[in-house]
C-alpha cells in the first residue's frame, strides 16, 4: 500500500525523522515505516485506525487513556500503541474481541463521568470522544451516573474567545501538553491526583488571569467540548473551509477559514502550513472579528476638503473624482507632484499594481512602502553584504541551531508562532543570547542551555555587534576556510583590519553599551564555538540611526564564523507585517523596480518599459519622509495610500499631520476610517484578506496563497480598485484574476520566474528565488554562492559606530524605546476592533522602579512624556524588566500619541526612523496633552463627518 501524508488526518503521534526503515505486520498487512515510529502511527499510515483519545500527532505520546491498546505477538499484555515504537518483524493485532471489550470498558468509565448532552453540545459532530464511543461500540454504562462525578463543574468563561467547560473534561492532558510542547508557555497543568485531577490554568486561576496567551493550541488539542471556541458555541459547527494565509505578522501562518455559508466561524491553523505546522497565536486564531466590524467602510466616499462631511458615491464617481484631481494637480504642478504608498498588509499582486500605477500611470517613481519605517535597513544591509535583501533561512531551520542570538527582537510577542518554535529548540538545549535593552520573555524560557542577556543601552547595537566580532577575530574563532572560499578577500581584509582595532574590544565599548566586557566575551565565544549558530533580529536593530550598519555588522558576524548557507545558521530578519518581504520584493521602494532591480539599470528598465508600454523614469523617487517634506514645501500635492496608516505609524506625528493637511488630494484605500483617512479627500473601501485572492510572502521568503472566503464588503478586491484608477487615468490595465498579475510579476522578476498559482497549488508554498536555477524554490539561501559581484562572494562591510545625536541630557534624562505587544498588531486598526482589547486596551509607559521612585511615580499614575519632538500622556507601569534610564511604550492606540514624541532622526542609509531612541523626561500630570485633546476633538468630528453623528465607538476610542 502506498503511503501518502494526509494533512487532515490525525496520525496519533509525531512522525519519526529516521531514515532507517523498519518492516512489521499490522493486522496481517506488511507495513514499512521509519524507525522510531509508534505502532499507532504506523497503522494509521496504512489506514488501519486504532481508537485513541489522549494521542494526537502534534504531541508526544502520553499513554494515559489506554484506549489504543493492541496486542503484539510474543509480548505480554496489551501495550498502548501510541507509546510503543515499531520493531522489525513485529506482529500487531489492533482488533479482536479482547481488545474490543477492553476499549469498551475504558470508554464506559469515561462516559460515566461525562454529560450525556451530545445533541445540545457545541462539539456535536466534531467530538473525538463521541467518535470513539461509536468506534468501540459503547452501548451502555453499567456504572450509572449517581456516584461522585464532575458533571456540575463550573465553566470558565473569562477568556473572550473560548470557554473551559470542566464538566466535559476527560483529563487526557492534551491541552496541558499542547500548552507546554507546542506553545511553550506552561500555563496549564493537571491539578490534584486521582479522581480529583483537573485541568488548571496558572495557579488555579481563571484563564484570562493566568499566563495563558490564548494561542488556541489547547482548544485545538481538546478531543471534547471542554475547550471550545465561543464562535462555535454561538454559531454551531462549520460546514466548509478554505485554506488561506494569516494577515497579521511576518510568520505567515496557514489557516483553514472554517465557514458556515459566507460567515466565518473559526480560523483553524493548518497542519500542513509550511510556516506554522498547525500552530497559531491569539491574533491569527481568534482576532478576525474586525472583518465584520460595524466600522468597516462599505461605500466609496469623496469630499472637497477635510473640514467637510463625506459624501457617499458610486465607485465610478469616486474613481473619476480621484483621477481628475490627480490629473489636474499634475497639469498644474508637474509630473512629480503626486505619488503613493503601497501596503505591506496587502497582497503581492496588489502591491505590484500600486507601484506599477505610480511608475507607469503617474509617470514617476514616487512610490514607497511602510517597510521604509521598519525593515528598509535590512534591504540595504543584506544587499550590500550577502547580495540579497532577505533572510537566509526557513523558520524550521532554528530546530538545527545550537546557539541562537536574538538582537532587538521579541519573538514571543511579535512573531509568536515562530517564538514557540524557537522556545522548543531552546528547551531541547540550544543556548540563547539576547541583545536587548529589555529583559524579554524568551529569556525566561525553560531550557537546558544557559541564557545570556546583554542588556545594552538603546542606540549601541553597532558597538555591541562590533565587539562580538572583535572577540571572534582576535581570539581566533574565525572560520578561515569559509572566509577563504566564500567571501571577497579584499573586503574581508579591510574589515579584519578595522575590527581588530582595540577600540572595538568589549573592554573599550563597555562604557558605551553598559554591558560588562566579560559577559560580551563569553557570549561571543559561545556564539563562535557553536556547531550551528543563528542570528534573529527585529526592529530593535533596524529602527536606529545606524540600523543599516547593524544589519551589515550582523552579516559580518555570521560570515566570520561561517554561519551561512546551511540548516541551523543564517541571518534572519523577523519581518513585522504579513507582507513586508513581499512589498519590498514587488518594487515598492522608489529606487527599485520589482525584484530589487534598480531604476537606473537600463537593461532591467527596458524590460519593464516594453511590458508596460511606457517610458520609465531612471531617477529614484521620493521616500515617505521626503513626500512629507515636499508636501509642506508645496511641491507634492497628492498621494494615493493603500492599506497603510502613516498618520499613526510614522514618527513625529505633528509633522506628518501638517504634511497630510497640506495635500490637495489624499486618496486612502482602507477597511476603516484610519488616522490617515481623517486627512483624506477620497475614501475607497478596502478588502480584508478574507475577501480577496492573492499571495503574501513571509519572513522566510515563502510565497503563500491568500484565498477569498467571502465577498468584499464594497464589491471590489483591492487590486480591482487600483486597476480602475489606472484606467480612469488613461493608463490601461486589464486583469481578470490576480493569477494573471502573478504571471506578469514572474515574467519581469528573475527571482519569481517559476512562480505561478498553478505551482503554488501544487506545492502549497514556494520560497524565492524560484527560477530555472532553483526550480523548487530556495528554503536555504547562499548554500554555494552569493548573488553579489562577479565571483558570487559575500562582502564584509566596515561598520563604524556613529552614536546617535538623540542623546539624553539633564532636560531629557531618559531614553524611550517603543515596541509591540502580543495581543495588538501594529497601529491596532484591526486588533482594537476585536476582543483582543481584553489584554491591552491602552498603551502604557513602562519604567524602572529606580526612575519611578526618583519621580514619585506609582503604577497607574498618569505621566506626561516630553521629548524634543512633542508631548503626550500615558499611564505608568513600574517594571523590573526595564533597565534604569530606559522607558518603553507601544503605539497600538492612536490616542496615545506615542509617535508625537518620536523624532525625525533616521537611519543614515535608508531614512528608517529612529523609533528606538528618543530622549524624554517624564513627570506626573493630571490631564491629557494638548495634542491628545486636539486628537479627540478631530476624531469625533471626522466620525461625525462619516456617520452624520458622533458614534459611541468614536467616543470610546482611546
Amino acid at each position: 500500500m502506498l503511503q501518502h501524508f494526509d494533512p487532515n488526518k490525525d496520525y496519533g503521534t509525531p512522525a519519526s525523522l529516521s531514515e532507517k526503515l523498519v518492516t512489521l505486520e499490522i493486522d496481517g498487512v506488511e507495513v514499512t515505516v521509519p524507525e522510531g515510529t509508534s505502532v499507532m502511527r504506523a497503522a494509521a499510515m496504512y489506514d488501519i485506525n486504532i481508537p485513541k483519545l489522549c494521542a494526537t500527532d502534534n504531541l508526544e505520546a502520553f499513554g494515559s487513556c489506554r484506549i489504543c491498546a493492541v496486542q503484539i505477538e510474543g509480548r505480554r499484555g496489551t501495550p498502548a500503541s501510541c507509546t510503543t515504537p515499531v520493531d522489525a518483524g513485529m506482529k500487531v493485532t489492533t482488533q479482536n474481541d479482547k481488545l474490543a471489550k477492553l476499549r469498551r470498558n475504558i470508554m464506559e468509565l469515561y462516559i460515566s463521568d461525562h454529560p450525556l448532552d451530545c445533541l445540545t453540545c457545541p462539539a456535536n459532530g466534531d467530538c473525538e470522544l463521541q467518535n470513539m464511543a461509536g468506534a468501540v461500540g459503547l452501548r451502555e454504562v453499567r456504572y450509572g451516573f449517581e456516584g461522585n462525578n464532575h458533571l456540575h463543574a463550573e465553566k470558565d468563561q473569562s477568556n473572550p474567545y473560548f470557554t473551559f467547560d470542566a464538566s466535559k473534561c476527560i483529563v487526557c492532558s492534551r491541552c496541558v501538553r499542547a500548552c507546554s510542547e507546542v506553545q511553550g508557555t506552561f500555563a496549564l497543568t493537571i491539578d490534584g491526583r486521582g479522581f480529583d485531577s483537573k485541568v488548571a490554568a496558572g495557579q488555579n486561576e481563571q484563564f484570562l488571569d493566568s499566563e495563558c496567551v490564548s494561542c488556541g493550541a489547547c482548544v485545538q488539542a481538546c478531543p471534547t467540548a471542554t475547550l471550545m471556541e465561543n464562535s462555535v458555541i454561538d454559531m454551531g459547527t462549520p460546514e466548509h473551509s478554505v485554506t488561506t494565509t494569516c494577515a497579521y505578522c511576518g510568520v505567515g501562518c496557514s489557516f483553514k477559514a472554517e465557514m458556515k455559508g459566507d460567515q466565518l466561524v473559526r480560523m483553524v491553523p493548518a497542519k500542513d502550513g509550511d510556516a506554522n505546522h498547525g500552530h497559531s497565536c491569539v491574533k491569527g486564531r481568534f482576532a478576525f472579528g474586525y472583518a465584520t466590524h460595524k466600522d468597516r467602510i462599505k461605500a466609496p466616499m469623496i469630499r472637497d476638503s477635510i473640514d467637510q462631511p463625506w459624501k457617499e458615491v458610486s465607485w465610478e464617481e469616486a474613481i473619476g473624482f480621484a483621477a481628475k484631481r490627480l490629473k489636474d494637480i499634475q497639469a498644474q504642478y508637474g509630473r512629480e507632484s503626486i505619488g503613493g504608498i503601497t501596503s505591506s498588509r496587502c497582497t503581492n499582486e496588489e502591491t505590484y499594481l500600486v507601484q506599477k500605477l505610480i511608475r507607469a500611470a503617474f509617470g514617476n517613481n514616487n512610490t514607497d512602502t511602510c517597510a521604509r519605517v521598519c525593515h528598509s535597513p535590512t534591504g540595504y544591509g543584506l544587499k550590500q553584504t550577502l547580495g540579497e535583501s532577505a533572510g537566509t533561512q526557513t523558520f524550521d531551520s532554528v530546530m538545527f541551531s545550537d546557539c541562537i542570538l536574538v538582537i532587538g527582537a521579541n519573538p514571543t510577542d511579535a512573531h509568536p508562532v515562530f517564538g514557540s518554535l524557537m522556545r522548543r529548540r531552546l528547551r531541547e538545549g540550544a543556548s540563547l543570547i539576547v541583545t536587548d535593552p529589555r529583559e524579554i520573555d524568551l529569556l525566561s524560557t525553560p531550557h537546558l542551555g544557559d541564557a545570556t542577556h546583554l542588556p545594552l543601552r538603546p542606540g549601541t547595537n553597532v558597538a555591541m555587534v562590533n565587539a562580538l566580532a572583535h572577540v571572534v577575530v582576535t581570539e581566533g574563532y574565525e572560520d578561515k576556510e569559509f572566509i577563504a572560499s566564500r567571501c571577497d578577500t579584499k573586503a574581508y581584509s579591510k574589515w579584519r583590519e578595522f575590527i581588530i582595532d582595540e577600540r572595538h574590544a568589549p573592554e573599550a565599548v563597555e562604557a558605551i553599551t553598559g554591558v560588562s566586557a566579560e559577559k560580551v566575551r563569553a557570549a561571543a565565544r559561545k556564539f563562535a564555538t557553536a556547531k550551528n549558530a543563528s542570528i534573529y533580529y527585529g526592529l530593535g536593530v533596524t529602527e536606529h540611526s545606524q540600523g543599516s550598519t547593524t544589519v551589515m555588522g550582523i552579516a559580518n558576524l555570521a560570515l566570520a564564523t561561517g554561519n551561512i548557507g546551511r540548516e541551523g545558521v543564517g541571518v534572519n530578519p523577523l519581518r513585522g507585517q504579513n507582507n513586508v518581504q513581499g512589498s519590498c520584493d514587488m518594487g515598492s521602494f522608489p529606487h527599485e523596480l520589482p525584484g530589487y532591480q534598480h531604476v537606473a539599470d537600463s537593461v532591467a528598465r527596458a524590460r519593464f518599459e516594453k511590458a508596460w508600454g511606457v517610458e520609465l523614469d531612471d531617477e529614484p523617487g521620493l521616500r515617505i519622509p521626503n513626500m512629507f517634506d515636499a508636501a509642506l514645501a508645496g511641491e507634492f500635492r497628492a498621494m494615493y495610500v493603500q492599506g497603510e496608516d502613516i498618520a499613526q505609524s510614522d514618527p513625529n506625528t505633528q509633522h506628518v499631520e501638517a504634511a497630510l493637511s497640506a495635500l490637495d488630494c489624499l486618496i486612502v484605500q482602507d477597511i476603516f476610517l484610519n488616522e490617515t483617512a481623517k486627512y483624506a479627500h477620497v475614501l475607497l473601501p478596502g478588502s480584508t484578506f478574507l475577501e480577496k485572492n492573492g499571495t503574501f510572502t513571509n519572513a522566510e521568503r515563502r510565497i503563500n496563497r491568500v484565498r477569498k472566503v467571502m465577498a468584499p464588503v464594497a464589491g471590489k478586491e483591492d487590486w480591482e480598485v487600483t486597476v480602475d484608477l489606472a484606467n480612469a487615468l488613461g493608463y490601461p490595465m486589464s486583469y481578470s484574476h490576480p493569477s494573471e498579475i502573478m504571471d506578469e510579476i514572474a515574467s519581469l522578476t528573475p527571482s519569481f520566474a517559476n512562480v505561478s498559482y498553478e505551482r503554488l497549488e501544487e506545492h502549497g508554498s514556494l520560497q524565492w528565488p524560484c527560477n530555472d536555477a532553483f526550480p523548487m524554490g530556495s528554503p536555504i539561501m547562499h548554500t554555494e554562492s552569493f548573488p553579489i559581484g562577479d565571483e558570487g562572494k559575500a562582502k564584509f562591510a566596515v561598520t563604524e559606530f556613529v552614536p546617535t545625536t538623540e542623546r539624553a541630557n539633564s532636560r531629557f534624562p531618559l531614553l524611550l524605546t517603543t515596541g509591540r505587544i502580543l495581543s495588538q498588531y501594529n497601529v491596532g486598526a484591526q486588533t482594537r476592533r476585536t476582543d483582543n482589547q481584553a489584554w491591552h486596551d491602552e498603551d502604557i509607559l513602562e519604567l524602572h522602579p529606580h526612575d519611578a521612585e526618583e519621580r514619585g511615580i506609582k503604577t497607574g499614575d498618569w505621566l506626561g512624556i516630553t521629548s524634543r519632538a512633542g508631548h503626550t500622556v500615558l499611564r505608568a507601569r513600574v517594571a523590573e524588566r526595564m533597565q534604569p534610564g530606559v522607558v518603553y511604550t507601544t503605539f497600538h492606540h492612536p490616542g496615545s500619541g506615542a509617535n508625537v514624541i518620536t523624532t525625525n532622526n533616521s537611519d543614515w542609509a535608508t531614512n528608517c526612523p529612529e523609533y528606538k531612541v528618543t530622549a524624554v523626561q517624564v513627570e506626573k500630570v493630571s490631564q491629557p496633552s494638548q495634542w491628545q485633546k486636539n486628537f479627540q476633538d478631530n476624531h469625533e468630528r471626522q466620525y461625525e463627518f462619516l456617520r452624520g453623528s458622533a458614534s459611541s465607538e468614536a467616543k470610546a476610542i482611546k
Partner: protein, 79 residues
C-alpha cells in the same frame, strides 16, 4: 532632531559620510557618499543639496562637501 528640510538634507549627507568614515581616504568616502546619493536620493533631494551647497548656511563634512559638489555638477550637466 532637525527643523527644516534643508537642515535635514545636509544632516543626512553628513550622516552618510560619518557612517562611512572608515571607507578610506576622504576621496574614498566622497566616492561612497556620491554613489549612495546617486543611487537612493530623489531628484528633488539632490536639487536641495546643490542649493544648500551653493547658498546655504549648513555646515558640510569635508567628504560630504566633495560628494555634494560632484552631485551638483552632474545636475548642472543634465540641466
Amino acid at each position: 532632531m532637525f527643523h527644516t528640510e534643508e537642515e535635514s538634507i545636509v544632516t543626512m549627507i553628513n550622516h552618510i559620510a560619518q557612517n562611512n568614515v572608515s571607507a578610506g581616504t576622504e576621496s574614498d568616502v566622497a566616492d561612497m557618499v556620491e554613489s549612495h546619493i546617486t543611487k537612493f536620493w530623489s531628484r528633488r533631494m539632490k536639487k536641495i543639496l546643490a542649493e544648500q551647497l551653493a547658498t546655504g548656511t549648513e555646515e558640510f563634512e569635508p567628504a560630504a562637501k566633495v560628494a555634494a559638489q560632484r552631485i551638483s555638477d552632474k545636475l548642472a550637466e543634465k540641466a
